[in-house]
């Protein structure tokens, strides 16, 4: 495979380097592929499937699928937008997401993605699962109601902080984010300076007593949709 090559995405030619994922190559070319579990700096995980594209007519996760020379990729089509909407809706009904009360509102990737995709109200019934909060740490709070199980905190803690503070417990709808301690977050090695605290795309992992400090209007997604920063780099 040549070091650099091109493929077609929604009719546009995108330059990729060998080993680059479709998502990374697209992003470098100013094309936004919606995503939730992907975060630059982390090993791709392929869990949320929001980044699903069609490569040569085959659905795949753009964050894990390496770009292929000469391939034809669909990204921003109505079919894929509909899939993504459904996935986002499913996340909303599975957890307990009350944006109106949530301090992450305006800075939340899930909320911003829902706005970008035009999700109004979920079509599936809410699960209303009982999920607990771990507020035991003096400065950090883990609110499992809002966790979307993207594993970004788990991976960041392990790969970047070198600590392994978080991990999953259980399977299926009973799956929960757990902490690496007998009982509570306060008994782990988590620290206010950990990168894992900034890895959460939603309002599940937060620094205490900082909520609502950024006024409406100055928040990340107040003025333009998520992905706009990437699209601004479009050649």
């Amino acid at each position: 495979m040549p070091d650099t090559f091109t493929f077609l995405m929604d009719g546009r030619s995108v330059v990729a380097t060998a080993g680059q994922s479709i998502l990374e190559a697209a992003e470098a070319g100013g094309i936004y592929v919606p995503r939730l579990c992907h975060k630059p700096g982390l090993v791709p995980w392929g869990a949320c499937r929001i980044c699903t594209v069609r490569m040569n007519d085959r659905p795949c996760a753009a964050c894990t699928q390496p770009a292929v020379p000469g391939s034809v990729v669909e990204n921003d089509t109505e079919e894929l937008r509909a899939y993504r909407r459904t996935l986002v809706e499913m996340l909303f009904v599975e957890g307990n997401h009350f944006c109106m009360l949530c301090e992450k509102s305006g800075n939340c990737e899930l909320q911003a993605l829902a706005y970008r995709l035009g999700v109004t109200a979920p079509r599936a019934p809410y699960f209303f699962q009982a999920r607990d909060i771990d507020a035991s740490h003096p400065d950090i709070i883990l609110d499992r109601n809002r966790c979307i199980q993207c594993a970004r905190c788990i991976r960041t803690s392990k790969d970047l902080d070198g600590k392994n503070v978080f991990g999953f417990l259980g399977r299926g709808t009973a799956k929960r984010i757990g902490v690496n301690a007998r009982v509570r977050l306060r008994d782990t090695e988590v620290d206010l300076t950990d990168l894992s605290l900034d890895a959460c795309p939603v309002g599940a992992l937060l620094r205490k007593r900082e909520g609502f400090r950024v006024p409406v209007g100055d928040r990340l997604y107040d003025l333009e949709p998520i992905g706009s920063d990437i699209e601004r780099n479009s050649p």
Partner: protein, 483 residues
């Protein structure tokens, strides 16, 4: 709802042109006379329970969702209650003034909404006028300039809220220990721009309420009138203060029952009574007990109980208003309208003072200090004194929340007012006349009750009237569109 077997029960539901849903039942004795009237507030919000376990800094944003009309009151009251939890009992001048500006903007828009949209149809057309015209649309057709002023005054107040809280409704401006933004000079200038109109229109609205009251004094002073105690917060020198102060209560003759009570001690002085037929509590003053200790809150209470108002035009208006009582507080329910417009004028005067204060542009927004585990916030909401009380555990999670909202304090008074009015207009016949329905609604509206959230519909709410005989059987039922 319980049926009283020994009496005839008449039901009016829902009450229109109040915020939310309400229902009135009128209970007759065997002689066909009104024994008692009850305002049923079909409201169960559950906030005190479901915010338990949530972190305290969510309270200002979460609990304001109780209401779509005066969320700012809940937002600020909750913020005041959680300020001590970050060690912020005394705010920076910028934070205190930005919050005050937000609060006065809220007063201005809420009072304008009530006066122009909800009350003015009764005042302009008379409350026995045809319901088809006695509504805000009728006002807009007949008095377009007045309707326009009402809309623009409301808008002005909402712009103040947007600038200070980030959004016109359910904003985030007040955070524990302060605020999250100041007011820029550009924002200030935007508000100064329309200010003179607002001041002038507030004077006009006040004079309309005043003139209406004086022109109809004989009938209004008999209508829904009864002696009561009054409660509000006042500044340490007794001045009207809508944002902060200590508790004062006066008796029906205007004598102090207590004064300068620390907000933290509200439970030493106020008890929340319960009755089997209502979700709403019936608060009363502990020292007097449930029979005579109930009290009124809101504009009438504040104007009656404060020593003076610290803005010149509102103070002059207060003096003239108080002359009505001949040395006693003013007691008739319809006087709320006049009192409310005195407060609207005071609010806009205060807004003017604040807009010229350079502290609004300061950048010292938040304080922190030794953290408390409990906090009580008390504020004067447009509808009356509002209490928020929270306790947190060592992990910052709320373990107790107690709210006494203004409409709750006015619960007993509204029942009294409805009873008084029903007695006057029931002619001894077990039938509900158009005039009686109007009168009952008009007197409830004087209290500007917020019965739940903002589910107000302009002129299109059905009025259901049910008539029961003394054995609880429905003998009559009427449904019609009202306004």
């Amino acid at each position: 709802m319980a049926t009283d077997q020994a009496s005839t029960r008449i039901v009016i539901e829902p009450v229109t042109r109040v915020e939310g849903h309400g229902k009135v039942t009128i209970h007759l004795d065997e002689a066909g006379q009104v024994r008692e009237a009850r305002l049923h507030i079909v409201e169960f919000r559950g906030f005190e329970r479901f915010i338990q376990g949530r972190p305290f800094w969510e309270m200002p944003v979460a609990v304001q969702r109780l209401c779509g009309i005066c969320p700012v009151s809940h937002h600020l009251c909750a913020a005041k209650a959680v300020d001590p939890m970050v060690g912020g009992r005394t705010l920076t001048p910028t934070a205190e003034k930005v919050r005050r500006l937000m609060h006065h903007g809220q007063f201005f828009q809420s009072h304008a909404l009530h006066f122009f949209h909800l009350a003015s149809p009764d005042l302009l057309f008379g409350f026995d006028a045809e319901p088809a015209t006695r509504n805000v649309i009728g006002v807009a057709m007949k008095h377009p300039e007045l309707a326009r002023q009402g809309i623009l005054m409301r808008k002005y107040g909402q712009e103040i809220i947007r600038i200070t809280a980030g959004k016109k409704i359910h904003g985030t401006g007040a955070i524990p220990g302060g605020v999250n933004k100041n007011v820029t000079t550009a924002e200030r200038d935007e508000l100064l721009d329309g200010y003179d109109h607002m001041l002038r229109w507030s004077r006009d609205a006040l004079s309309l309420a005043r003139r209406y009251t004086l022109d109809h004094l004989a009938e209004l002073s008999e209508f829904g009138s009864f002696d009561s105690n009054f409660l509000c917060i006042v500044r340490d020198d007794g001045a009207l203060d809508l944002y902060d102060g200590k508790l004062r209560a006066i008796d029906p003759d205007g004598r102090l029952l207590f004064d300068q009570i620390d907000n933290d001690r509200y439970l030493d002085h106020i008890v929340e009574g319960v009755r089997p037929w209502s979700y709403m509590k019936f608060p009363f003053l502990r020292s007097l007990g449930p029979d005579t200790g109930w009290y009124r809150v809101g504009p009438l209470a504040r104007i009656n109980a404060c020593t003076y108002i610290d803005t010149p035009e509102a103070e002059a208006a207060r003096r003239e208003f108080m002359a009505l009582g001949n040395g006693r507080p003013v007691h008739f329910s319809m006087a709320y309208h006049w009192a409310r417009m005195i407060e609207a004028l005071h609010a806009i005067e205060k807004i003017g003072e604040l807009l010229h204060d350079p502290d609004l542009q300061g950048d010292d927004l938040c304080v922190t200090g030794p953290r408390a585990r409990e906090g009580v916030g008390v504020i004067e909401a447009p509808r009356g004194t509002l209490f928020h009380h929270y306790r947190v555990n060592e992990d910052d999670q709320v373990t107790l929340c107690n709210l006494i909202v203004s409409t709750t304090s006015n619960n007993e008074p509204m029942n009294r007012a409805v009873t008084d009015v029903a007695r006057r207009v029931m002619g001894g016949q077990p039938v509900i006349t158009e005039g009686m329905m109007n009168a009952v609604e008009v007197v409830i509206r004087a209290y500007d009750p917020c019965l739940s959230c903002a589910t107000h519909a302009i002129g299109r709410m059905p009025l259901v009237v049910e008539l029961f005989d003394h054995e609880g059987r429905t003998v009559d039922r009427r449904i019609k569109n009202s306004c």
